[in-house]
């Protein structure tokens, strides 16, 4: 069975970098959105060559800093 993988890195400030593999097309972004609530906090999206293929790999950097 195909495997989907997301590698999430949380830096010292609480910002997230996420890299996906094994997703089809836009579904990788949808999966990240469901997981990390990305609306309004993504500072950079880098689409890889694989993104246009059936399987996609994407990197998304997220700035999730809670304002107090």
């Amino acid at each position: 069975m195909p495997e989907q993988q997301i590698v999430i890195t949380i830096d010292d400030e609480g910002a997230i970098t996420a890299k996906t593999s094994g997703f089809k097309g836009e579904s990788c972004l949808e999966a990240l959105e469901e997981l990390l609530e990305l609306e309004g906090v993504v500072s950079n999206v880098k689409k890889t060559d694989e993104y246009r293929q059936q399987q996609s790999v994407q990197q998304v950097r997220v700035q999730k800093i809670k304002r107090t």
Partner: protein, 169 residues
């Protein structure tokens, strides 16, 4: 007739004043209601006053908060002055000189007070940042598990938290 006067540094912060009084060897003592009845002198002291080891005709010279400031109360004629308490062998210094020395000590204590506040603020921000990272980690793991991912947690070469989420479809 003309005159030039110079006031002391406004003594505003109780802890800083206390520190400054200790620095000049005035052995400050906060008057509590518990010890109030044991103090006998012409000047009526109140709970909250800060006694010094300086004494005059009226008794202990002391500080009292008046509005925003602490003011020094003493016999204006400086009659029958002496040092009492643990440093009784010290020579009594006139009020003007005492207040000048205390002003310098207060300034030094105030600078230290600011440094302490800055350090406390720095530590608060560090703790806030740690809590933010932990909250992000916890939320990501909880959501991943709820969506059927298996979660492996580790650290990357920079020491940052790394979560590897895997699921089969």
């Amino acid at each position: 007739m003309s005159a030039v006067i110079k006031t002391t540094t406004p003594f505003v912060i109780e802890t800083v004043l206390f520190d400054a009084l200790e620095r000049v060897g005035a052995e400050p003592k906060l008057v509590s209601s518990a010890i109030l009845h044991g103090i006998s002198q012409r000047n009526q002291v109140q709970a909250g006053d800060i006694l010094t080891n300086r004494s005059d005709y009226n008794g202990r010279q002391f500080f009292r908060r008046q509005g925003e400031r602490w003011v020094f109360l003493h016999d204006s004629d400086e009659y029958s002055t002496r040092i009492v308490g643990g440093l009784a062998d010290r020579r009594y210094t006139p009020i003007s000189r005492f207040l000048s020395e205390l002003s310098l000590a207060y300034d030094a204590a105030y600078n230290q007070h600011l440094e302490t506040l800055a350090e406390q603020e720095r530590l608060r921000l560090v703790e806030e940042r740690k809590a933010r990272v932990e909250a992000t980690r916890k939320q990501a793991i909880e959501k991943a598990k709820a969506q059927g991912y298996s979660v492996k947690e580790g650290r990357n070469t920079l020491g940052q938290i790394q979560l590897v989420l895997t699921r089969t479809v």
